[in-house]
């Protein structure tokens, strides 16, 4: 459905300036989620939204869409990160997702929990961002070589 880049030069220039800002803000939301509002879910959605904006503005042939298509193939990676952190806790001798049992020498239990929360938030963010981009590609078939269907 998305056949070419957007006609309006205003939209293209604004999009080009806005996308990096949205991505930086998404990273801030993700990594500051333990100290302020936000977290993995919102950070992931914002990151996915920035990719979607690139797809909508620059069309199927642009480099950003190719990158987004690569990103959309990583479905499930975030889930694996989340579950792997839980599995590492199992290896450390604790319960599943009990971050106090993460086997990291030199860290007290609260710091381990802090690290566990951060890692699982990254997992959630990756999962959400990839899913959002993937749904957009499912809704509007954009093929990589420039010709589009629907």
């Amino acid at each position: 459905m998305i056949e070419s880049r957007h006609d309006s030069v205003i939209v293209r220039h604004l999009g080009g300036g806005l996308i990096p800002l949205v991505q930086i803000f998404a990273l801030y939301i993700l990594f500051f989620g333990q100290h302020g509002p936000g977290g993995g879910f919102v950070g992931g959605v914002m990151m996915g939204t920035s990719f979607i904006l690139g797809i909508l503005v620059f069309g199927p042939t642009d480099r950003s869409t190719v990158v987004a298509k690569r990103v959309a193939e990583a479905d499930g990676v975030g889930l694996i990160i989340f579950a792997a952190v839980g599995g590492l806790c199992l290896i450390g001798g604790g319960q599943f997702l009990n971050y106090a049992e993460l086997e990291i020498p030199g860290l007290a239990a609260p710091s381990r929990r802090y690290l566990g929360i951060l890692l699982t938030q990254i997992g959630v963010a990756v999962d959400i961002a990839v899913t959002a981009v993937s749904i957009v590609f499912s809704l509007s078939v954009v093929s990589g070589n420039g010709d589009s269907h629907v």
Partner: protein, 176 residues
Amino acid sequence: MTYSFELPLLILLILTAGGAMFVKDLLSAVLILGSYSFFLALVWAWLGAVDVAFVEAVVGSGLATVFFVLTLFGIEPRDTLIRRTPPPIAAVVGLPLLGLLLLYAANDLPAFGDPASPASTYVSPFYLENSLADTQTPNVVTAVLMDYRAFDTLMETVVIYTAGMACWLLLRRDAR
């Protein structure tokens, strides 16, 4: 207690919700629904649930609108105009009565922020008192979501992953 902020917000919410229901063009309905989500985000922020407000603003008025618009692009233009049939008499009479019944029942709910209500006396005090010492995470919401209730969040992530997979299986048509 004055309602100088809540009352205009409530009116805007009802107006946008009604507008999304009564407008003839589906594209207009989608955009009005996006503004409805934005006002709802303001309500969450006003109630102190900033995390929920964030999600509502980004997902409700941003992502969902994009999904709806992309879906509308994919269908025939004549299908985006809908002819609404008048609602049955039973719904016109019954639904307001049901609303009155719910308002009457809402009298028995505990007041907003009541420290003696069951929701605030069970596990919430434990989280509020111990989460900073346990996890070094000042944001209690994040500590509860990602540590105390991490298994819940893992399953939510599975749900979202499954939703993406289902869309991929049902809608992808670019077989190579």
